[in-house]
Subunit: 357 residues, 2 copies
């Protein structure tokens, strides 16, 4: 039985800004694919169900001669990222047909991994079946995936949360922000978030239990922080950079910590057009620390992985932590799902559903 | 015998920018002063010889209702800072006439401390006599004073120097910069400095042994760093902020450390006129850390004090570390000596010589 194997292909590097569907990213059928063909010795055949959509993927869509913190995608090769897949055939010890796995996989309907790739690309066998929060596989890409580990490790490693202190989180309804806020609440912090719509504001305050929030499109961040955190900010979890970072620097308390997780307002712009941030003297006067990180660094996220996985599984199962997913359906819509991250159109952790099984 | 006791008085807070001699700072004679009058029980009578001129003093010349990291000067009270004085009378145990001491003292010819002030304001009894590098008392205010401890503690605590790495130091001929560079050379680092004149450039390269340097007035910092540190910068010791900070962010290597020691280009300006720094996304992409500090914090400088004092005494005595002092003579010229720090007119650690004995 031969079937299609549609795959999202990196065709051309955008010369400036974001990819355009059909020009820089195309969906091609790499089939015919016969799922009954046995995998190579020690390998597996996978049906790929859901993949994670993250802003950093656009950084990989570049001319490979440009160096960056993350390897570039290969031209004419597939877009890859964390994905959940079901094993349909296996000759790899420890992996059985029917198992759900999490790994670094192509945005495709199917893939075959050889023995070496099983070792290098598959990160975990997932609980199967599981029955938390709508049985949604996207949970493994959001709160239990890189976004959740990013929130967890950066909050503890750089933020050092203390009960009674105040944390301000930008992009608070996003994949990382919603987790940071809920973990911070568990640590007894006062939690303030910024979002880009009234609907998201309602979500973080009413559903996630944040102490306050504002819509940055409606209220200037500096004014909002005066109103919401008159006692100052102790931790700023920065996902956006630019004007909100500037306002946070001004609002920080002495010995505050700024977690430089991402700056979505600055991505995909020519560096000479990056926003100027004025309040850096606050770093000196208030002896602040500001630190960037890469969660995949062996000395960063990995140290927190066990704690994160154990507790997050439990909290998702008992419903005490909520996760909002934003699902894009179908490989044809993958590029648009990715672009939505840059306009704030997504609401929650963005995942691409490739197929149901 | 009654004599004059001229003192530098904080008369009025500058509403914007820097103090003007005769308007915001005046020299008044608080005498007649009789040095033969015995000090109070447990107190001392001091003849003040040299005082330290530092940029942060201008931050203390503010309306006391404005909060900052350092207490404001009292209106109509003396300007105070670290100073070297000779004890001319003592009823304090452990302090004898003729001793040289280092303490927080008024910019005045003489002062009398009561027992409580002896405890709170005198920090050290100095070697007496000493015979290093011209017998200059200013050494206790520069390399052995706050500037030296700032260089030492911040380089080790935040910079974490490693042999073979590259450090870039702005204001490299200044009080702190010249010490940072020489300590970093001892740690086996490659040392690059920026200065504001050809004379200073010659000094840091030829006399202090820096590996390279540039005059920021003649060469754009980004171009200079490409030329002088093509392999990138691992530690940036920032004394200036603004354009040089921006260039350093761009030039940093992965996991670089930025020591936010001061930003002299931003001081005494309305915050809304502070320079915008564009390259903060580099903090994320290159997982940098940038940290401000106050050397006087008990958990910062104090941890390094013993090591700093022991080794710096030894290196100054054996001549293996050099210290350049910029001496302003006389209380009447104190304000100008302070202003020179903001135009870069000083060359080396700025001290005010009040009198010879």
């Amino acid at each position: 039985m031969s079937i299609t194997n549609k795959t999202l292909i990196f065709k051309k590097a955008p010369t400036s800004g974001l990819p355009i569907a059909g020009e820089h990213l195309i969906v091609a059928d790499l089939g015919p694919f016969d799922p009954s063909t046995p995998p190579p010795p020690g390998g597996v055949t996978l049906s790929i169900l859901q993949a994670s959509l993250d802003p950093f993927l656009t950084d990989k869509m570049r001319d490979p001669s440009i160096e960056s913190y993350t390897p570039a995608y290969t031209l004419n090769g597939p877009v890859t990222n964390d994905a959940v897949a079901r094993i349909i055939q296996s000759s790899a010890p420890g992996f059985a047909p029917g198992d759900l796995i999490l790994g670094n996989l192509p945005f495709a309907e199917y893939t075959v991994l050889d023995a070496a790739s099983v070792t290098s690309e598959i990160r975990a066998v997932l609980p199967n079946p599981f029955n938390w929060q709508g049985h949604d596989l996207g949970l493994f890409l959001g709160p239990l995936g890189i976004a959740g580990l990013t929130a967890w490790s950066a909050l503890y490693e750089i933020g050092k949360p203390k009960a009674g202190e105040t944390i301000f989180i930008s992009s608070a309804a996003g994949a990382v922000g919603q987790m940071v806020g809920q973990i911070a609440k568990r640590e007894g912090m006062r939690v303030i978030g910024s979002v880009g719509s009234e609907e998201k504001l309602k979500f973080v305050v009413e559903e996630l239990g944040f102490d306050g929030g504002f819509n940055y499109k409606e209220e200037e961040a500096g004014e909002a922080l005066k109103r919401l955190a008159p006692e100052g900010v102790d931790i700023y979890f920065d996902n956006v950079g630019g004007a909100q970072l500037d306002a946070a620097l001004w609002a920080m308390n002495e010995r505050g910590r700024i977690i430089a997780c991402g700056m979505i307002t600055q991505y995909n712009r020519d560096p000479k057009d990056w926003d100027g941030v004025k309040n850096l003297l606050c770093l000196v006067d208030k002896r602040l620390v500001m630190r960037g990180f890469i969660v995949a660094d062996p000395d960063f996220g990995a140290a927190y992985l066990k704690d994160h996985q154990t507790k997050m599984h439990q909290w998702l199962a008992d419903g005490s932590i909520k996760a909002k997913l934003d699902v894009t359906e179908g490989l044809e819509n993958a590029t648009q799902g990715l672009l939505d991250l840059f306009t704030g159109k997504n609401f929650g952790k963005a995942v691409l559903k490739i197929k149901d099984e």
